[in-house]
C-alpha cells in the first residue's frame, strides 16, 4: 500500500464536498477518480497535493504522513508531480526551462539537468523541442511538456487533473494510449481525475467512482462495468438499461435474485438477474435490473424462451451507427420506465412490434 487515504473530509461553507473517503493505492498503480462535475474528485486530488487543507482525515505516502489532522506537510515539500487541466506552462520559459524548473530549485548540477531534460523529451516524444516556447506548441505538445515537467523531479506519485479534457477527441484517444505506455514504462503511481468514463476505463488499473463527495464504488474497470453496486455507477460507466422493481426472492447460493417489475408492467412482470454474494446481502427495498444494451437481444417476432426476462415493445426511434441500429423501444404498457436501448442487427421500423430478451446471466441487480 503506497498511498493511503483514510476518512478524508472537506466542507466549503455548509456544503460537504468530500465525505469520509477511504482509498488505498498500490505502488505503480494507475487509479482514476471518476465522477460528474462537483463530485469532489478534484478536491481530493488537490488535498493529496496539499493545495487544499482537509478538514479531517489521513493522507500518507509510503511511510510518510502528509496530513493527519494535526500536522500538514506544505505543498513544496511533498515531492509529488501534478499536471493541470490547462497544462500551466510558464510562458516566459522555454520548454527545457519549464521541465528543468524543479531540478534547478533542487540545485541539481546543470550537466545532469541537461541530460535529464533530453531523456524526458525523448520519453514524451518531443526531442528537439527544448528551445521552443509554449505558445509555439500545439495542445498535445503542451500537454506532453507538462507531463515531462511533472516527471522531472521524480515524484513518488503523479497527480493528473483532467489532463486530456482540453484536447480534441481524436487526439485524446491517441494521447491516452501514449500516456499509459509512458506511465507503465516508468512504473509510476498515478492518480488521475476525469469525468470521462471511457478515459477512466481505458487508462486505469482501478477506478473510484464518486458522487457528491461520497465514494460509490472502487474496482477494476470490468468490475465496475459488469457488477456496479448501484444505479448511479451502473449508468455512469456506460449506457445502461435499468428496470426498477422489488425483490421477490433471493437465492444466495446461486447468486440469483428474482424481482417483480412494478409500476405499469403487465401483470407484475417477473425477471431474474445475478448479484454477487456481498452485494446480495446488502440489497433491500427497491432494486434495479441492469442489462447493458450490448446484451439485450431484439427480435422482430415472438420467440419462445426458457426464462421470463422478456418484454414486448414498440420501436420509438432508431439510427444506423456503423453496422447496427441504435434502437429505442418503448416497453408495452409502460408508464414510468424510460425507453430500452438495444442494438439491432436488422433495420427496425418506427412503431414496429419487437420482443426484447434480457438474458438472465447478463442481467445484474443493483441497488437503487
Amino acid at each position: 500500500m503506497y498511498l493511503l487515504i483514510k476518512k478524508l473530509n472537506k466542507s466549503y461553507a455548509s456544503r460537504k464536498v468530500v465525505s469520509d473517503v477511504d482509498l488505498t493505492v498500490e505502488e505503480g498503480e494507475i487509479l482514476s477518480l471518476l465522477g460528474p462535475s462537483g463530485c469532489g474528485k478534484t478536491t481530493i486530488l488537490r488535498m493529496i497535493a496539499g493545495l487544499v487543507t482537509p478538514d479531517s482525515g489521513l493522507i500518507k505516502i509510503g511511510d510518510r504522513v502528509l496530513f493527519d489532522g494535526k500536522r500538514e506537510v506544505p505543498v513544496e515539500e511533498r515531492r509529488l508531480g501534478m499536471v493541470f487541466q490547462d497544462y500551466a506552462l510558464w510562458p516566459h520559459m522555454t520548454v527545457a526551462r519549464n521541465i528543468s524548473y524543479g531540478m534547478r530549485l533542487s540545485r541539481v548540477p546543470s550537466r545532469e539537468i541537461k541530460k535529464h531534460v533530453q531523456e524526458l523529451l525523448e520519453v514524451v516524444n518531443l526531442s528537439g523541442f527544448g528551445d521552443r516556447y509554449s505558445h509555439q506548441l500545439s495542445g498535445g505538445q503542451q500537454q506532453r511538456v507538462a507531463i515531462a515537467r511533472a516527471l522531472a523531479t521524480e515524484p513518488r506519485v503523479l497527480l493528473l487533473d483532467e489532463p486530456l479534457s482540453s484536447l480534441d477527441t481524436g487526439l485524446r484517444e491517441s494521447m491516452r494510449a501514449e500516456l499509459v505506455q509512458i506511465f507503465r514504462r516508468l512504473k509510476i503511481t498515478i492518480i488521475n481525475v476525469t469525468h470521462d468514463q471511457d478515459e477512466a476505463m481505458s487508462m486505469s488499473d482501478r477506478i473510484m467512482v464518486l458522487r457528491e463527495g461520497k465514494v460509490q464504488q472502487i474496482g477494476t474497470p470490468i468490475e465496475l462495468y459488469i457488477q456496479p453496486v448501484n444505479v448511479f455507477v451502473a449508468s455512469f460507466m456506460g449506457p445502461a438499461n435499468l428496470l426498477s422493481g422489488e425483490i421477490m426472492q433471493t437465492n444466495a447460493h446461486a447468486g440469483i435474485v428474482t424481482l417483480r417489475l412494478g409500476k405499469g408492467f403487465e401483470e407484475d412482470q417477473i425477471m431474474k438477474g445475478l448479484a454477487s454474494g456481498d452485494l446480495l446481502d446488502t440489497l433491500k427495498g427497491r432494486v434495479s435490473l441492469l442489462c447493458r444494451p450490448d446484451d439485450v437481444r431484439l427480435y422482430p417476432e415472438s420467440q419462445s424462451f426458457d426464462h421470463s426476462n422478456v418484454l414486448q415493445g414498440t420501436v420509438s426511434y432508431s439510427s444506423f451507427v456503423g453496422g447496427r441500429w441504435h434502437t429505442l423501444i418503448k416497453p408495452e404498457k409502460e408508464e414510468q420506465s424510460p425507453p430500452i436501448l438495444a442494438y439491432s442487427p436488422f433495420q427496425p421500423h418506427l412503431n414496429q412490434q419487437v420482443w426484447l430478451e434480457f438474458p438472465p446471466d447478463c442481467c445484474q441487480i443493483v441497488q437503487e
Binding site: E77, H92, Y101, H135
Partner: protein
C-alpha cells in the same frame, strides 16, 4: 529506467540539505532549511508591509488625527479631542473660501473634462477620424505633462506683455477673463480630460456594435441610435470618469501654485501649503483643511467605485470586440479640426510657449533675432550650477523611488490577492483609500508624523538623534509613500491576469514564496512592472506638492527649482530646466519601451507571443483605468 538513474543524485542532494522522508513531522522539527525559508518569507512579506505602514499609513493617520486631536504632537502629547481646528475653518471666510473655490471649480472642470474626454474618446475609438492613432498618443502626452508647467505656460501666453500680446494685442476684457476662475477652470479641464478619455475608451471597448445595430435595423438613424442607445449605456462610465476628473482637479497642486496665483484664486491645496509654509505656522488649519479635502475626494471616489461595481472588467482583457467604425461623412473635417484645436490648446500652445521661452533672453523683448539664445541651457548644464544639482538630485530620487516602489508593490499585491493572510482585505482597502490622498496632504502628514517631538525618545530627530525630517531622505520616503498605493493597485491588475495554476505548479515543483515571486511572477509581469516603473519615474520627476513642503533647505528638486525660477520671473532658465526635465522623461520612455521590444524580437526571432502577455497598449490602458478607476 530513465528517471530512476538519477534518483540517487537528486535524493542525495536532498538528503544533504535535510529534506528527507520523515516518518512523521515531530512537533518541534527544526531544520536550518526551514528556518531560513521562514525568515525569507517573513522578510518578503514583512518589509513591504513595514514600508507601507511607515511611509503611507502612519503619516496619513498623523494628519487625519491631528485635525481632531490637535495636541497629539505637543509635548507632552495628549489625546484631548477638539473640534477647534474644524471650527477655525468654518468660522473664518478666508479659511473656507479656498475649500469652496476648489469644490465648485473642480465640479465645473469635471463637467467640461467629461464632455471633452467623452467626445474625443468616441471620435478616436469609434469613428474614422483621420490620424486617430496620433491623437491617442497625444492624449497620453497631455496626461503625463505636469500641471504646473501647463498652468505657468498658459499664464505666460496670455499675460499682458507676453509674446502673443506683443503681436496680437489682447484686449483687457480678454486678459481679465482669463486671469480669473474661468482661466483656472480652462487649464484644469485641459489637464484632466485625459482621465475621462481613458475611462470612456475602456468602456467603449466592451460596448459592441450590437446595440446600435439593433436600433438601426429598427429604423433609427446613426445619430439617434448613438444618442438613444449607446449614450445611456455609456453613462455610468462617463459619470464615473467625471468623478475621477473631479477628484483629480480637487487634488491638483500645480495649477493651484501657478496660474491660480496669478489669477488671485486660492485653491485649497495651495492654502494648505501656505498654512504650513508661512510663519506663524498654522498646523491645525492645515490639518483641518486636509481632512475636509480628503473626505471630499474619498466621497467622490467611493461613489465612482460604486457606479462601476457591477461591471466585470475581466471581460475586457479577455476579448477585444472589434466594433464597427462610424463613418463621419461631412463631419469628418470639422471633427478633425475640433481635435486639432483641443491639442493645440492642451499641448502645442503650452509646450510651444515653454520651448520658445527657453530659448529667449527675456520674453519682454519679443521675438527679435537678438533675443534668441542658448544661454539658458548652458547655465543649467555648467558644472556647479544649482540647476544641474537639482537635475541630478531629482533624477536619482526618481530612479530610486521608481525602483523601490516597483519592487515592493508586487509582494504587497501578492499578499492581497494570492494569500490567506489575515488582514489582507484591510490592506487592500488601505491601498485603495490612500490613492485618494493628494500629495500635499501626504506631505503635511510627513511633517506631523516625522517631526513629532515624541520621536526623540526613539532616537530620531532632535539634536542628537538620527536626522530624518529636514533631510533628503524624508522627501525620498514621501515619494515612495505617495506612489506605493498606485504601484500596488497596478500590480494587482497585472497579477490578476496570471493564472493561479501557474503558481500552483511552481509550488508543487517545490518553489517557495520568494522563488515564485522571483522566477515566475516577476518575469511574467515584466512588462507590467516596467510600465509601473515608468509611471512612478515620470510622476516623481514632475512631482511638486510634496517636494515643496519637504525638500531640504538648499537642496530643491527640479520642479521646486522651476517654480521658484518662475516666481523670480527668471522664465528663460525656468523653461529651459522644464524642457530638460521633459527630455529626460522622454528618453526614459523610449529606452524602456523600445529596448525590451528589440530584445524580444531578437530572442524569439520575430514570433509574436500571445495570451499571458496582454498587449502593451491594452495593458497600460487597463492599468491606468484600474488605478484611476480606484478599483
Amino acid at each position: 529506467m530513465v528517471p530512476r538513474q538519477h534518483r540517487p543524485i537528486v535524493n542525495g542532494e536532498n538528503q544533504k540539505k535535510g529534506v528527507v522522508e520523515n516518518p512523521t513531522m515531530p512537533p518541534l522539527s527544526f531544520s536550518l532549511q526551514a528556518f531560513r525559508r521562514y525568515v525569507i518569507q517573513l522578510l518578503v512579506i514583512g518589509i513591504p508591509l513595514l514600508i507601507l505602514f511607515l511611509f503611507v499609513l502612519y503619516p496619513l493617520a498623523a494628519i487625519i488625527l491631528q485635525s481632531v486631536f490637535p495636541q497629539l504632537y505637543a509635548t507632552p502629547p495628549s489625546l484631548a479631542p477638539s473640534l477647534d481646528a474644524l471650527r477655525q475653518v468654518a468660522s473664518n471666510p478666508e479659511n473656507y473660501a479656498a475649500l469652496f473655490n476648489s469644490l465648485w471649480m473642480s465640479a465645473t472642470t469635471a463637467l467640461l473634462a467629461s464632455l471633452l474626454g467623452t467626445i474625443l474618446a468616441i471620435l478616436v475609438r469609434r469613428t474614422d477620424l483621420p490620424l486617430r492613432r496620433t491623437m491617442d498618443t497625444l492624449v497620453w502626452i497631455v496626461f503625463f505633462t505636469p500641471s504646473f508647467l501647463i498652468g505657468e505656460a498658459w499664464s505666460l501666453f496670455i499675460i499682458r506683455g507676453g509674446i502673443p500680446d506683443q503681436y496680437l494685442h489682447f484686449s483687457d476684457t480678454f486678459i481679465n477673463w482669463f486671469f480669473s476662475p474661468a482661466g483656472v477652470i480652462f487649464v484644469l479641464s485641459l489637464k484632466t480630460f485625459p482621465f475621462v478619455y481613458i475611462s470612456v475608451s475602456v468602456a467603449l471597448l466592451w460596448l459592441g456594435s450590437e446595440f446600435e445595430d439593433a436600433a438601426r435595423l429598427a429604423g433609427a438613424s446613426t445619430l439617434r441610435s448613438w444618442l438613444g442607445i449607446n449614450a445611456p449605456l455609456l453613462l455610468p462610465a462617463i459619470l464615473a470618469a467625471g468623478l475621477i476628473a473631479f477628484a483629480e482637479a480637487l487634488s491638483d497642486f500645480g495649477v493651484a501654485a501657478t496660474i491660480a496665483q496669478s489669477s488671485s484664486v486660492t485653491l485649497v491645496t495651495y492654502q494648505i501649503y501656505t498654512a504650513i509654509n508661512t510663519s506663524p505656522v498654522n498646523f491645525s488649519l492645515a490639518a483641518a483643511l486636509s481632512l475636509l479635502l480628503f473626505l471630499a475626494i474619498a466621497l467622490a471616489l467611493l461613489i465612482q467605485a460604486g457606479l462601476l461595481r457591477s461591471r466585470s472588467f475581466q471581460v475586457i482583457s479577455g476579448r477585444n470586440r472589434p466594433a464597427r467604425r462610424l463613418s463621419l461623412g461631412i463631419w469628418k473635417w470639422p471633427a478633425f479640426g475640433f481635435c486639432v484645436i483641443v491639442f493645440l490648446l492642451a499641448l502645442v500652445i503650452p509646450l510651444g510657449t515653454c520651448l520658445v521661452l527657453s530659448f529667449l533672453h527675456a520674453f519682454g523683448l519679443g521675438l527679435t533675432p537678438d533675443n534668441w539664445t542658448l544661454d539658458n541651457y548652458q547655465a543649467i548644464l555648467t558644472q556647479g550650477s544649482d540647476d544641474l544639482a537639482a537635475l541630478q538630485r531629482t533624477v536619482l530620487l526618481a530612479i530610486g523611488a521608481a525602483s523601490i516602489v516597483a519592487l515592493i508593490g508586487l509582494p504587497i499585491a501578492f499578499i492581497i490577492r494570492r494569500t490567506n493572510l489575515p488582514g489582507r482585505n484591510v490592506l487592500s482597502l488601505f491601498t485603495l483609500v490612500t490613492i485618494a490622498v493628494p500629495g500635499i496632504i501626504l506631505a503635511c502628514g510627513y511633517i506631523f508624523a516625522w517631526n513629532a517631538p515624541y520621536l526623540q525618545n526613539f532616537g530620531i530627530g532632535g539634536v542628537q538623534g538620527v536626522q530624518f525630517y529636514g533631510t533628503i531622505w524624508i522627501l525620498f520616503a514621501a515619494y515612495i509613500g505617495g506612489s506605493l498605493p498606485y504601484a500596488t493597485r497596478l500590480s494587482i491588475g497585472g497579477l490578476d491576469q496570471v493564472g493561479q495554476n501557474l503558481l500552483e505548479t511552481a509550488r508543487v515543483q517545490g518553489a517557495h514564496l520568494f522563488q515564485i515571486l522571483f522566477s515566475i511572477i516577476g518575469p511574467i509581469l515584466r512588462s507590467n512592472l516596467t510600465s509601473i516603473w515608468l509611471l512612478i519615474f515620470t510622476g516623481t520627476m514632475f512631482e511638486l506638492a510634496s517636494s515643496e513642503l519637504l525638500y531640504p533647505p538648499g537642496e530643491p528638486t527640479m520642479s521646486v527649482r522651476i517654480v521658484s525660477l518662475f516666481n523670480d520671473f527668471k522664465l528663460g532658465p525656468g523653461m529651459a530646466l522644464s524642457m530638460l526635465n521633459i527630455g529626460i522623461v522622454l528618453f526614459a520612455l523610449i529606452i524602456f519601451r523600445t529596448v525590451p521590444w528589440l530584445v524580444h524580437q531578437f530572442r524569439q526571432g520575430g514570433t509574436r507571443s500571445k495570451t499571458s502577455y496582454v498587449s502593451t497598449h491594452q495593458e497600460t490602458e487597463q492599468e491606468l483605468r484600474i488605478a484611476e478607476g480606484r478599483l
